[in-house]
Assembly symmetry: C2
Homo-oligomer: 201 residues x 2
DNA sequence: GAGAATGTACACTACACAGTGTAGTTCTTA
DNA sequence: TAAGAACTACACTGTGTAGTGTACATTCTC
């Protein structure tokens, strides 16, 4: 037997996969339950046997995408390592996350929804935003260590990550532009680090 | 007579105003022609006598908002004036535009639409983006004058305006956050200038 | 004040879509 | 292999909404 799962589990999985595909491409409004059922190769009734409503299904899918793109842990501040290298590592990690296609799709769908139906996905968007906070922790530690003292502690973390997003997130989310190529990623990360170190000390 | 316009002109104007109000609040999908007609105090038939379709009306409204928020002219580079002051002036002008409520509403509606119906408002979004180019021209002139030579000429203009948008545009558009207060605007503009000058020479 | 242009009320078509009810079929498992 | 769980086809309700057609009313213009 090539599918170890029970029929009902396979069906459920097919529905989830189809829903992800459709929502990623078309967003919430323009995706119909009939379409999802057809793509999943499942009757519409089965979709409703697994998920009570379209909203519920959408919520589950956002949750799914969220989990699949969030495997990040805090980068610790190291007083012994050069600042430049630590900053580069921090921003490369961030850059990798921003350019991950699941993350981008999640962000696109969540943002589109949160723009004209705040309650549905607003929480997701603010969770996306809260993930910026790695830079906050790192910078706080650096400043406690007497480094980078010229940086405004409130603005600086967002200045760092915002710089990446200017090139590697907003154009992709709002204009559907392709991800940055490797050379461009390198330029952006290094320019951001250079600028920040020049500014912050 | 307190209304010098003909009936038909008044009706048309009422429709446009109602449509702007509704689209600003609810976006394209969630705004119905019946609602627009009711808000305008006009029969639906009259709406259709003035505008052939909802898409057409939406396009006209985007055009309207565009014109009402675009009264910008190029800031010339002045070799005699201090760089810092010129940069501050440039960014203050940009900041004012970004925080204009009509501009924000336009951007919000256009971006929401362009995310899941590219053809409709994509052109509008790219026009919004092209307006960044004032900084390009100014920087080119400064570099031709031998200043700010350490800045990457491709990235630098977007680094400047992107920094403002990190604080004064994206949170407002995507999270419906309130505009920045005056003190915060000042902090952002000055930090951006400081950082850029530290980096670019 | 007559005729043309414009607006109004309202009924109507056409469609897309969320969600349900049911009778019958297929799969799983004890 | 029998019973129950899950799936399927399909018809159906209800709703929202774009857009049209028409008969009648109002407003403008000469």
């Amino acid at each position: 037997m090539n599918t170890p799962l029970k029929l009902t589990d396979r069906k459920r999985q097919a529905i989830v996969e189809a829903a992800i595909a459709e929502f990623r491409v078309s967003g919430f409004e323009s995706t119909s339950m009939d379409k999802i059922a057809a793509t999943a190769g499942v009757s519409k009734r089965t979709v409703y046997n697994h998920f009570p409503s379209k909203d519920e299904l959408f919520a589950q899918i956002l949750h799914e995408l969220w989990n699949s793109s969030m495997a990040q842990q805090q980068q610790p501040y190291d007083p012994a390592a050069p600042l430049r290298e630590q900053l580069l590592a921090l921003l490369w990690k961030k850059m990798a996350m921003l350019q991950d296609s699941y993350f981008l799709d999640l962000a696109r769908v969540a943002i589109a929804e949160s723009i004209h139906s705040p309650e549905r996905a607003q929480e997701m968007v603010s969770r996306l935003t809260r993930k910026e906070e790695e830079a906050v922790v790192w910078l706080r530690a650096a400043q406690a260590d007497g480094k980078l003292l010229k940086a405004d502690p409130v603005l600086a973390p967002q200045m760092l990550t915002g710089q990446l997003k200017t090139f590697a997130f907003w154009p992709q989310v709002t204009l559907n532009q392709p991800p940055l190529d490797a050379a461009m990623q390198k330029k952006v990360v290094e320019a951001t680090v250079d600028m920040f170190l020049a500014y912050a000390g």
